[in-house]
């Protein structure tokens, strides 16, 4: 007996919906086995990992805070990936956006105006976009691989931030801690509701998701993205420029990541410090794929991945496991999502060694 993947006549719309759910279930199962092997009660562990964070108002706010950058970055990445440009460096664009947006409150703290915040956000987006422009330039000019370039630029951005907050941008009154000055009230992204910390970033994320969804579904630009992503030659036949698409997709995703970066610094942290992200830029890659590269799906998957961050923090406290569990869950999830996606285009057949036996087994189905 052997297992065979048989190509479906057309993509299964049922499995397009079921596959992410199946992946979630398999992730939970694998997680339960992992907890069991660690000697923890899997029921209790999974409960405190995935359910407990949803029961309190304050932690729902935390969920929104963590989901916002994930969704915002993943929405930009979805355009990139659909156009067959592989931006892996959103973490770096996130960092660069945070640095550029923070220039105003750090370098001219005395300027108090309602204009400060919008300008910061715009500068953050521009900073992220320009930083993503580096792999675009190198790809279109010298035919370099954007995966490697964008990934390596992450470390440059992180070390640049590290140098800034330990050197020129360090708060002189900060007791030598590697931190910038705290942002003034005008430079802080306001909270949404009285009940908790959630700020406007989640609104930016949702608006961006809906806007990109509309573009991909109803606008010629989105059509260009899809065509060039499926076949560069067909895109050329349609008169679309793949070179310009490299620029567009990378800079759009860079701008989204940059906006997420400055929103996070301005809304959640309030100053610059060496580490401003628990790996949002990388986790957003999982978010994008779990959401089927569809901006509306990304909203849902963004919340799921945000929950793994919260669960990891909770699990440290309540069941005493390392917060590395978060990474394990995220990795498991990506693995199962990609493998379950096979079922959309293929069906699984069990072929028994005697060809006719399997033919009989199959014929009633047909």
């Amino acid at each position: 007996m052997r297992i065979e993947l048989e190509r479906r006549a057309s993509a299964s719309s049922l499995f397009a919906l079921v596959s992410p759910i199946l992946a979630l279930v398999l992730t939970l199962l694998a997680g339960a086995i992992m907890f069991l092997m660690l000697g923890k009660d899997p029921g209790h562990a999974l409960y405190s990992f995935f359910i407990e964070p949803l029961l309190e108002v304050w932690s729902l706010h935390e969920l929104a805070i963590k989901a916002a950058p994930l969704i915002l970055i993943a929405v930009g990445l979805s355009v990139c990936y659909r156009s067959n440009n592989w931006n892996i460096g959103a973490e770096g664009q996130f960092t660069m956006g945070a640095i550029c947006g923070s220039m105003l409150p750090i370098l001219v703290p005395q300027w108090q105006s309602p204009l400060v915040l919008p300008l910061m956000l715009v500068m953050g987006a521009i900073g992220g976009a320009l930083f993503a422009g580096i792999p675009a330039l190198l790809k279109t000019r010298f035919n370099t691989n954007e995966i490697l370039v964008s990934l390596m630029l992450v470390y440059i951005a992180q070390l640049f931030l590290d140098w800034l907050v330990r050197g020129p941008w360090r708060d002189p009154k900060g007791f030598n801690f590697p931190q910038s000055v705290s942002f003034s009230a005008d430079a802080v992204l306001p909270e949404l509701l009285e009940s908790g910390r959630a700020h406007w970033a989640i609104v930016f994320a949702l608006v961006a998701a809906v806007a990109v969804w509309f573009m991909m579904r109803y606008m010629l630009k989105g059509f260009q993205v899809t065509v060039l992503g499926s076949s560069e030659r067909a895109g050329r036949f349609a008169g679309f420029s793949s070179r310009r698409m490299v620029w567009f997709s990378l800079m759009l995703s860079g701008a989204c990541a940059g906006l997420a970066g400055i929103s996070e610094v301005s809304g959640s942290i309030g100053h610059l410090q060496p580490s401003i992200s628990p790996g949002y830029g990388f986790t957003a890659i999982i978010v994008a794929f779990l959401g089927r590269l569809n901006p509306l799906g990304i909203i849902a998957s963004g919340f799921v991945l945000a929950l793994t961050y919260l669960g990891g923090e909770a699990a440290q406290l309540s069941i005493g496991v390392s917060d590395k569990v978060t990474r394990v869950f995220q990795g498991l999830l990506l693995f199962f999502v990609l493998s379950c996606d096979t079922l959309i285009l293929y069906r699984i057949r069990l072929i028994f060694s005697d060809g006719r036996a399997s033919a009989e087994a199959r014929s009633p189905h047909a």
Partner: protein
Amino acid sequence: MTDAQGPQAGSLLSVEGLTKLFGSFAACNAIDLSVAPGEIHALLGENGAGKSTLVKMLFGVLQPSAGEIVWMGKPVTVTSPGEARRLGIGMVFQHFSLFEALTVAENIALSLDPKIPLAKIADEAATLSRAYGLPLDPNSHVADLSVGERQRIEIVRALLQNPKLIILDEPTSVLTPQEADKLFETLFKLKAEGRSVLYISHRLEEVQRICDRATVLRHGKVTGACDPRTETPASLARMMVGSDVASVEREAEPSLGEVLVDVKALSVAARTPFAVPLSNLDLQVRAGEVLAIAGVAGNGQGELFDAISGEYPVTDDQSIRLRGRPVGRMGINGRRLLGAGFVPEERHGHAAVSDMSLSDNLLLSRNQSDRKAFLTGGMSGVIRHGVIRQATQRICAAMDVRKSGEDPAAGSLSGGNLQKFIIGRELDRQPSVLVVNQPTWGVDAGAARRIRQALIDLARAGSAVIVISQDLDEIFEVATNIAVISEGRLSRPYPAGELSLEKIGLLMGGVHDSSSHAEGAHAH
């Protein structure tokens, strides 16, 4: 299990009730077929008739849903192509299964015993390809080879394995008449050695010329078995398409108008090290004219199409004029706005995106030329899906495109139906200039006739049509004038009536008569 079991005890291969289901669709429905040792057996049928599915089951690429394959008197289960090769079945696919990044010799080595050294394989392949008149450099990379050359690899690869039965799927579609003759000699030689050949073709004359028996398929079922030599092409075609195939109608003396396409001294350097450079090409097409450009694959046809369509603009703006306007540096959509339409050779991934719907594929080529109708105005460029879907239905109705569902993915259509849609997409605009590369490559007889008729009708209505083709039957059917491309150079145009097969064969083989350019200058 004894070998007396099958009804065709003396046959090399016999197939009983072979069925292949894709979901509920029966691509092959209870096929019976038998091939005797030492015969050339034709498998005839339209695109989508189930020929490819049938041979894929024989070669172990697909597993049958029901039925039995009997090989040399014993029922067998062919689980993989490797198993088929071990049994002694060789196959030349219509769609090539080659790794583009590897060399010719490496591709051949993949299907042989891994212990044979590569140099030996390269040697044998070179010898064999010379012997069979299929010139091939074993060390060149597949990515740099034309469609015709890639098919040669497949043929040589199958012959190298010394098979008892060799299955050939449309092998002559990219060969010159002389090369085809050489291939037929090869096939006769194989036959004389006692080997069998299962020969799939649309070309009825060929089948009559070389095949001993024929099995005809339609809609996944066997509709006839005959001796092709006792049939007429018309009777074979009737079995194949189920109705009489009319030949195309055309006027004897079309009246020609003004010059719509004027290419002067067009030279294009090779874009990649292995592309064919175009040198000093001249051509003119007038309203009402069909200019056919004949030639063997890989002699600059693709490069010529790229230059005329504007997919790759050229440096000299004046070297290409459309309706009097210099357009050499203009992009493809600018040329479309001047009234030109283009149909490239490759359907999947060039003329159409396979996994997109037909209506999206309509937008593909007409996103600027029909901007007013298909998009709402302004910067936003919102797509009017409803309007485009209506236009899609109109095109499908006009060209008799058979499809499942209202707006299926382009990839789900058979080759012929997709090609009808791709041609209809351009015709729907009433282009004043249409450039088509290989209009009926891999398309069944019914669809091919329809496409050729549409090209002639377009010219008759006053458009200029350029048809780049390797199919000489097609060229003589549609052309007003014929020019031959060879090694990136174009012969002067000859009126279709004045050109003999022999002369065209010589031109395709690169025998330029020295006075051609001088004559061409006078003719204009």
